[in-house]
């Protein structure tokens, strides 16, 4: 009996050990071995926000081409994150956030060096790439944009014209009137879709900041002001429009059931007329329209509905910037990926976006837009004040980089719990408090 039991024990023991060993072996992280050769090789992990491009195999294509260009590279693991900003932020509390990743919007300039590897001297890189200022700090650059966007809103031309709106609205009121005309004409879901549930699209409205007042220094001025949310200011117009559109019933009936993927189809089929997103969204919307059996030419792009000195403005800027994890063990290959991606992959063309390269072309989809609208690039913060906006933002508790505060604004607009002015007053008070705390 003893013997039998011992054998059974042994069997269980070895099974358990095997299982434990397997789990240990299978839980390797990115680039287990440090690449010290100085040449691209080994494996890297790339984090991306474009889960749709993983689904349809585009990224597989990129990986193939990259490996062909660098035969010593054994593997490029692409990890897609649906809620990119949120999920990456959590991972950045550890050292485990891939080798190459897009720098999240919530990282303030002074924190760049803590998380990301310096990519080079800002001035030097600025000769090759556009919009380098965004992710630079004290003369060093930490991120290179993958594509440039213009900001405005994407809309379904067929629905707009059917409702009688043929010109770009040139004031916020005109924008609301256009939406109202569409509502009166009859539309299945809503003239304006906020994508409240997925939350991150609400932050896209920030793309209009700067274009409203046609002021490349808007960010540097807002840190000096105690009333960023007022009539006619950038924040005032943007959040004002969000509030008004929701309060007038021009958005979806139940925001808690919106869905990003679904919204692409809704816009394509004309059940939704407008969404505020950067120009990066155009190809995705066109693809969805085609998949739904509609004409992709229905998808068009319009600038921020404000004219200054008679013309529309749009902020042109880098989309996500790719950076290298400061704790990466294969920085050489990571750098090779970034460079290859920007120069060879054709990503920005495929995305109908502006090329990040200084001498890059303008894609056909944006050719008309660029002719009619004045593009402006935002100025960086003056030396020593790069972290100021972020510090005030955090201290105030608003956290403008997180969509929560805009969700609350929408909640209030639906329930009437606070009027637009009350929302503005609360935000201003919090901002002023933040400024005082930081000593701005």
């Amino acid at each position: 009996m003893f013997l039998h039991q011992r054998r059974a024990r042994l069997a269980v023991a070895s099974a358990a050990v095997t299982v434990l060993a397997l789990t240990a072996a299978c839980s390797g992280g990115p680039g287990d071995e440090e690449n010290t050769s100085g040449e691209p090789g080994g494996a890297i992990t790339v984090l991306t926000w474009r889960t749709d491009l993983i689904e349809d195999g585009t990224f597989d294509g990129y990986v193939e081409q990259f490996k062909a260009a660098y035969p010593d590279v054994t593997d490029v693991k692409i990890e897609g994150l649906t809620d990119y900003e949120g999920e990456v932020r959590t991972r950045m509390s550890t050292t485990n956030y891939g080798d190459v990743l897009a720098i999240p919007g919530s990282v303030t300039p002074d924190q760049l060096g803590d998380f990301f590897e310096p990519l080079g001297d800002q001035a030097e890189l600025a000769e090759q790439y556009r919009w380098i200022n965004d992710k630079s700090f004290e003369g060093t650059s930490y991120g290179i944009p993958v594509v440039g966007n213009v900001q405005g809103y994407v809309y379904n031309k067929r629905v707009w014209e059917a409702a009688g709106v043929t010109e770009f609205p040139d004031t916020p009121e005109a924008f609301l009137d256009a939406l109202q005309a569409i509502a009166d004409d009859g539309i299945e879901v809503a003239p304006l879709y906020t994508n409240y549930k997925d939350a991150w699209p609400l932050s896209q409205w920030d793309g209009w900041l700067g274009a409203v007042t046609a002021d490349p220094d808007w960010k540097n001025e807002v840190v000096e002001s105690d009333e960023p949310w007022a009539d006619g200011t950038d924040y005032g117009v943007v959040d004002g429009l969000v509030y008004d559109a929701v309060a007038r019933g021009l958005t979806e009936a139940d925001p808690t059931t919106t869905n990003w993927e679904e919204s692409k189809r809704l816009l394509g089929t004309g059940q939704v007329a407008t969404m505020v997103l950067g120009s990066w969204a155009i190809p995705q919307m066109q693809a969805a329209a085609q998949a739904a059996g509609e004409d992709p030419a229905d998808i068009a792009y319009a600038p921020t509905p404000v004219t200054v000195d008679g013309s529309f403005h749009s902020v042109a800027g880098g989309d996500y910037n790719l950076g290298i994890n400061v704790s990466s063990r294969n920085k050489v290959t990571a750098r090779a990926w970034i460079d290859w991606f920007n120069h060879e992959s054709g990503f920005s063309q495929a995305q109908a976006g502006l090329s990040p390269l200084v001498d890059g072309d303008i894609p056909d989809a944006l050719a008309d837009f660029v002719d009619e609208v004045e593009l402006l690039t935002l100025n960086p913060a003056p030396d020593g004040k790069e972290a100021l906006f972020g510090d005030i933002d955090t201290a105030s508790g608003i956290v403008t980089t997180d969509p929560k505060f805009r969700q609350q604004s929408i909640d209030d607009a639906r329930s009437g719990a606070r009027t637009k002015q009350q929302v503005f007053d609360d935000l201003n008070t919090a901002w002023a408090k933040g400024r005082a705390e930081v000593g701005a």
């Binding site: 397997l22 789990t23 990890e79 869905n259």
Partner: protein, 274 residues
């Protein structure tokens, strides 16, 4: 008269409750068997056209990573259970068979720990797991599942008390040491407790979402619950596929339940009488 009314009343409440419990699940099953077009066009109550439409399930399994999710869950479960059983039995053995300095302190430590809801400490636990370098590895989950399970220890304690000491003494006379007694007398006699713990903990690990969500973001290492959650991203507008994923997640538990009902009931009730 009143008797028949009350009797009918009883059954009516039972039927209503059963409908309330089953209806949402049935609707998801319907949804999982419809095609994309069907799903959008029909009423949720309309049965699917073809009960053999398994394309959604195929998609969920392959593109949705459910197979990998199951594999990961099994791996984590196997390791965590092995650990839990050894630790739980070891603790029970030590606490029951010995009287030593600090015994009541240890008992108290375990008792007190039951009061702390796991979710509250995660902010701080995260720092520890990260500090150990275990973030984004299955070990983090295995460790957490092993180390924070007081219920199993109580179950083992109850059962160990029932093992007669005469067995121990007989073995000691034959010259067996404590380890041998533990392995060859205690553990085999704890089989019912082990079975209970395996079931309870298994269900718990299978359904655990918060811990893998926090500690294991790597898509290749995801267990079943976070794999299902990740469906909401790329398949967000394809509810027929999400439904299939939901059904796939429920089926194993349903099967387990149907076969092991008695043990499951016992497990939860005995866990309650701590």
């Amino acid at each position: 008269m009143i008797r028949t009314l009350t009797t009918t009343g009883k059954y009516v409440t039972l039927v209503v409750a059963s409908i309330a419990m089953l209806l949402p699940i049935v609707l998801i099953v319907f949804g999982s068997l419809k095609t994309g077009q069907e799903f959008l066009a029909t009423n949720p109550f309309t049965p699917p056209e073809s009960l053999a439409n398994v394309s959604n399930y195929a998609t969920a399994f392959t593109r949705g990573g459910m197979l990998r999710g199951f594999a990961n869950t099994v791996l984590i479960f196997a390791a965590a259970i092995a650990g839990t059983i050894l630790i739980g039995a070891a603790t029970a053995y030590a606490l029951d068979r010995f009287r030593f300095l600090g015994r009541s302190a240890v008992l108290g430590l375990f008792l007190l720990a039951t009061l702390v809801p796991g979710v509250t400490t995660q902010v701080a636990t995260f720092q520890i797991i990260n500090g150990l370098g275990l973030y984004n590895s299955r070990w983090a989950l295995i460790l957490l599942f092993m180390g924070t399970d007081i219920i199993s220890i109580y179950i083992f304690l109850q059962f160990v008390r029932a093992i007669p000491r005469s067995l121990d003494e007989a073995a000691m006379i034959e010259g067996a040491g404590h380890l041998r007694i533990f392995l060859q007398i205690i553990l085999p006699n704890l089989k019912p407790a082990i079975a209970t713990v395996v079931i309870i903990k298994g269900i718990g690990i299978y359904n655990e979402f918060f811990l893998p969500f926090l500690y294991l973001p790597d898509p290749d290492l995801r267990p079943i619950s976070t794999a299902l959650f990740a469906f909401k991203g790329p398949f967000g507008s394809q509810w027929e596929i999400i439904s299939a994923g939901v059904v796939i997640t429920i089926v194993p538990i349903l099967v387990l339940f149907l076969f092991l009902q008695r043990y499951i009931y016992n497990g939860f009730t005995s866990g309650a009488t701590k």
